[in-house]
């Protein structure tokens, strides 16, 4: 960032949304990330997403771990609640917050280091629980904040700024999520907001774990030649599976003339994601097929983006656990404290 404040992120947005809010009501504090950092573009996409979905900021809970990426919650929705926790533990904090108040909209922001190294266990288990949240990984293949070590998502053969070559297999966040059965798995690129915003909208509207793995180049430590997470490399190997569109619940889906390649995917609240296939025959509902396809891309060095996998019938944590709809924090004490008589009765067993 620079000291002279940048123009506020996003379009001048001369319109108000359904809540009567301006896009700038969805902005955050001035970013302190490096000028050009992919993460800042993601903040911009998030601002647009929340604005367009007309979500009340104070109904949003932003959570994160530690890293440049995990600073992102400061840079959008400053009127929301945020919990910037410790390194790698965003999923557990989000789980607890969601347990206590399931009525909030949860968006967790993490990095590849935060989620795939120190946070790998919590990441997998949050998926396993099918925690209802949008889980965003700002994936740059390095540890930005600690100055450029390879992260677990660095590809074999990718080079560090000073020339060191990574020789370990990458952990692919999307493949891991698909394997573990996440209900919504998408991949985007910080440099392609047009594709990203509908993917983010879908993630927010999907009920259950929605992973959005976003390639987000680190201009300071991983944007050189030889890096496979640079802007240039990503653009070159970028492979869009579908064109994506988000249709809110009320709107009708107009099947255009090219209707036959158009897949509408219904989300829990009645909204839809419209997919227009680019890659013929890619079926994001087929787990094994998606896995095979993506593994193949990995071998070819291609970066497939779009909605990679969706299970529209996934059952979220609270449903599985039979939790009451009312957020637990809204229950009165009388609703949860059985009272003196019951205590006496209870103690009867111990006499």
């Amino acid at each position: 960032m620079s000291f002279i404040s940048k123009p506020k992120v996003g379009h001048p947005a001369l319109q108000r949304n359904e809540l009567g809010l301006w896009q700038r009501d969805y902005e955050g504090t001035i970013s302190t990330l490096c000028a050009g950092c992919g993460h800042d573009s993601i903040s911009a996409a998030l601002i647009q997403t929340f604005f367009e979905l007309s979500i009340e900021p104070y109904r949003v809970a932003k959570t994160s771990g530690i890293g440049c990426s995990s600073k992102t919650p400061a840079y959008f929705l400053s009127q929301s609640h945020a919990f910037n926790s410790v390194h790698g533990r965003m999923p557990s904090v989000t789980m607890g917050a969601n347990a206590a108040n399931s009525s909030m909209i949860f968006v967790g922001i993490s990095g590849d280091g935060d989620s795939l190294s120190i946070g790998m266990g919590q990441f997998c288990h949050a998926i396993r629980r099918n925690l209802n949240m949008a889980y965003i990984i700002e994936n740059n293949g390095v540890y930005g904040l600690t100055k450029g070590q390879f992260s677990a998502s660095a590809d074999i053969g990718s080079t560090a700024k000073k020339g060191e070559v990574n020789n370990q297999k990458p952990i692919d966040a999307a493949l891991t999520a698909i394997n573990q059965g996440a209900g919504y798995v998408a991949r985007g690129f910080s440099g392609d907001k047009e594709q990203l915003v509908p993917l983010l909208k879908g993630a927010l509207r999907h009920k259950g774990m929605a992973l959005v793995d976003i390639i987000s180049p680190c201009v300071t430590f991983n944007d050189h030649e030889g890096s496979t997470k640079s802007y240039a490399h990503t653009r070159e190997h970028y492979h869009q599976l579908e064109q994506t569109d988000f249709v809110p619940p009320a709107e009708e889906i107009t099947v255009s003339s090219e209707g036959r390649e158009l897949t509408p995917v219904r989300l829990h609240d009645g909204s839809h994601i419209l997919l227009r296939n680019v890659e013929k025959d890619y079926d994001p509902r087929d787990q094994a097929g998606a896995f095979a396809y993506l593994k193949n891309c990995q071998l070819r060095g291609e970066i497939p983006t779009g909605l990679l996998f969706i299970d529209e019938n996934s059952i979220d944590f609270h449903e599985r656990n039979n939790t009451i709809e009312t957020p637990l924090i809204d229950l009165d004490h009388e609703d949860i404290c059985p009272g003196a008589d019951v205590l006496a009765e209870m103690l009867g067993r111990y006499r």
Partner: protein, 606 residues
């Protein structure tokens, strides 16, 4: 054989040596409960191995008309049901005492001791004649020795029957067989021994209004009544049964009658790091939330505890202590996490600790822990231990005041925020170091950014040295405030006390008994039982009034003493450690001996 055994009516110890996984637990429980229902004060300690089946386990029942709850160091009657441990079990019997064994096989060579009485009962033989399937044979052998003991100890058969009737109310098929097994043993004993023995039970009226309960169940009840709605945990002995109990309580008392849905959320985490993370997420959201764990789990929670301290999140953590360090002896007790808990995490951190002495206090201090955590906005750790948590203690029935409402502390909710001009999460409005907080989603004005890095009064990021110092100084000021909220210590004064004794938690019973004995020996002492850290004025006053203070605790390094040295005006010369750390609960005789030795050493030196 041996000297005559003196009469020990309602004042003796029965110890049962078994093999785990053989169903002895229910037989032993039956025995204990019978005595309890006869109105005689009784407690029991269970010594079990860190495995599931096939290793030695002991159950020690102390019958004490005076109501002493701790181990006394003696064994009046040993029920030796485990051939593997015969030798040690035999050696442990107090001179003049009894050893009951299974005489189905010859054991004479193993059982050599002249100063005790041997009582052989061919239990296996008897039972094998009666029952044919192997499982019944194992189970009813245990019930049969209860029958034997009922005759030897003069237990009321009607009470046994009553308990069996209740236990097997729904499994009538088993009921008859149980009655039968009791009779089998009882009849044998009546026929072959002079019953009752000099050690025996006489009905009293001292257990009315009492229950027999373990501390983990009691703590779970505390969580239920305090209104905890989220619990996250990772299984670990000896804390596991706390969440088990909470869960079954919730399933019974927290189901929404209309929808059949849960008014609670319990999450079995993938590990302790996740468990505490979930707990903190939930308290941030405004729920009362807790996590139970034990030593290794506590060590894993260090980073998050520092976050909670620094960001001022309420948190109730139960550390049911076991014998450390490392994996240590997972099924043995100790009070050895005191320092680890008090100063958990890197940087300048310090935490509130509560020390319940028994299940009763587990209940009340748990409720208080939730109130304190909310009021003080910081982690509150309840330091229980395996002895309290997993053993059955006799306690007065817990009482509940239906007027109780949770003290949520300084929280601004919708209405207050509506009318507020502005909100600063970390602004010390009242000058006591405690600020106002909000719940996410309540109100737009309540939004703030919680972070473990440097933050201003407005919850903004800062690296400014002065803003950082302000924050740290306020937290220290808050610590002073905290002292005034701490549950008071319990003082037991004696006339002309020659010294003070200070202890905490489960040491209480042994200390109380030891001090009675010492007074009888002409050495009266005052006793202060500390119930919380940080220490408050009463602790200071006690220290000021006693030149010599024995600090009794169940660890090797004198951790409570260390806390006193660090955080009170106590001096090194003043404090004398009385330590016990072999994994078994503290016994009164060990306290007596150590104090006597220390007194005479001092005396000699003086």
């Amino acid at each position: 054989m041996s000297e005559k055994t003196p009469q020990r009516v309602n004042d003796f110890v029965v110890k049962l040596a078994n093999v785990n996984g053989t169903g002895s637990a229910s037989a032993n429980g039956l025995l204990m409960k019978t005595i309890f229902r006869m109105g005689v004060p009784v407690t029991a300690k269970n010594f079990f191995p860190s495995n599931i089946q096939g290793l030695p386990t002991w159950y020690e029942i102390r019958v004490s008309k005076d109501g002493y709850q701790s181990r006394s160091g003696r064994v009046d009657l040993m029920v030796a049901m485990n051939a593997q441990t015969y030798a040690n079990d035999l050696a442990e019997v107090t001179a003049g005492g009894y050893l009951l064994y299974d005489s189905s096989w010859p054991r004479d060579r193993q059982l050599k001791r002249d100063d005790i009485h041997l009582l052989g009962v061919p239990l296996a033989k008897m039972v094998n004649q009666q029952y044919s399937d192997p499982r019944s044979r194992i189970l009813f052998k245990n019930i049969a020795y209860v029958g034997v003991l009922s005759a030897l100890l003069d237990l009321d058969p009607a009470v046994i029957d009553e308990i069996l009737d209740q236990l097997f109310a729904r499994k009538t098929s088993l009921l008859e067989a149980n009655h039968q097994a009791v009779a089998l043993g009882r009849d044998y004993a009546l026929e072959h021994f002079e019953c009752p023995l000099p050690i025996r039970v006489e009905p009293m009226d001292k257990t009315k209004g009492h229950v027999v309960i373990d501390g983990n169940t009691a703590a779970a009840m505390g969580c239920l009544f305090a209104g905890a709605s989220v619990g996250a945990w990772y299984p670990i002995t000896p804390s596991t049964s706390l969440m088990d109990a909470f869960k079954s309580l919730c399933e019974r008392y927290r189901i929404d009658p209309e929808t059949g849905k849960n008014r609670f959320c319990i999450i079995q985490a993938e590990d302790e790091l996740a468990a505490i993370g979930m707990t903190l997420g939930a308290t941030w959201s405004g729920a009362r939330s807790f996590t139970p764990t034990s030593g290794p789990g506590l060590s894993l929670m260090g980073e998050f505890l520092g976050l909670a301290y620094f960001t001022e999140l309420p948190l109730v953590l139960f550390d049911v202590q076991r014998t450390g360090p490392s994996t240590g002896l997972p099924t043995r007790t100790q009070q050895s996490d005191i320092i680890a808990a008090a100063y958990a995490s890197h940087g300048d951190t310090r935490h509130v600790l509560l020390f319940p002495k028994d299940p009763e206090e587990c209940f009340y201090l748990t409720v208080e822990a939730f109130d304190l955590a909310d009021r003080l906005q910081t982690p509150v750790m309840v330091l229980s231990d395996l002895d309290i948590g997993m053993n059955d203690w006799m306690c007065p029935e817990f009482k509940w005041d239906d007027n109780y409402r949770p003290d949520r502390g300084k929280v601004l909710r919708r209405e207050e925020l509506d009318s507020a001009d502005s909100f600063s999460r970390y602004l010390d409005v009242d000058g006591d170091g405690i600020c106002y907080r909000t719940y996410p989603g309540d109100h737009p004005k309540g939004a703030y950014f919680l972070r473990g890095s440097g933050h201003t009064a407005n919850a903004k990021y800062t690296e400014d040295p002065d803003e950082y110092t302000d924050l740290m100084d306020r937290l220290r000021r808050k610590w002073e405030t905290i002292k005034s909220y701490m549950p008071e210590p319990v003082l037991h004064s004696r006339n002309k006390a020659v010294a003070g004794v200070l202890a905490c938690g489960s040491s209480d019973g042994a200390v109380q008994e030891a001090l009675d004995r010492l007074e009888e020996q002409g050495v009266p002492m005052d006793y202060l039982r500390v119930r919380a850290f940080p220490f408050n004025e009463q602790v200071e006053a006690f220290l000021a009034e006693h030149e010599r203070v024995f600090v009794v605790e169940q660890n090797r390094d004198g951790q409570l003493k260390m806390l006193l040295l660090n955080e009170s005006t106590a001096t090194r010369e003043q404090l004398i450690s009385v330590l016990h750390y072999n994994g078994f609960p503290l016994s009164s005789d060990s306290v007596i001996t150590q104090i006597q030795v220390a007194m005479s050493a001092r005396g000699a030196a003086a």
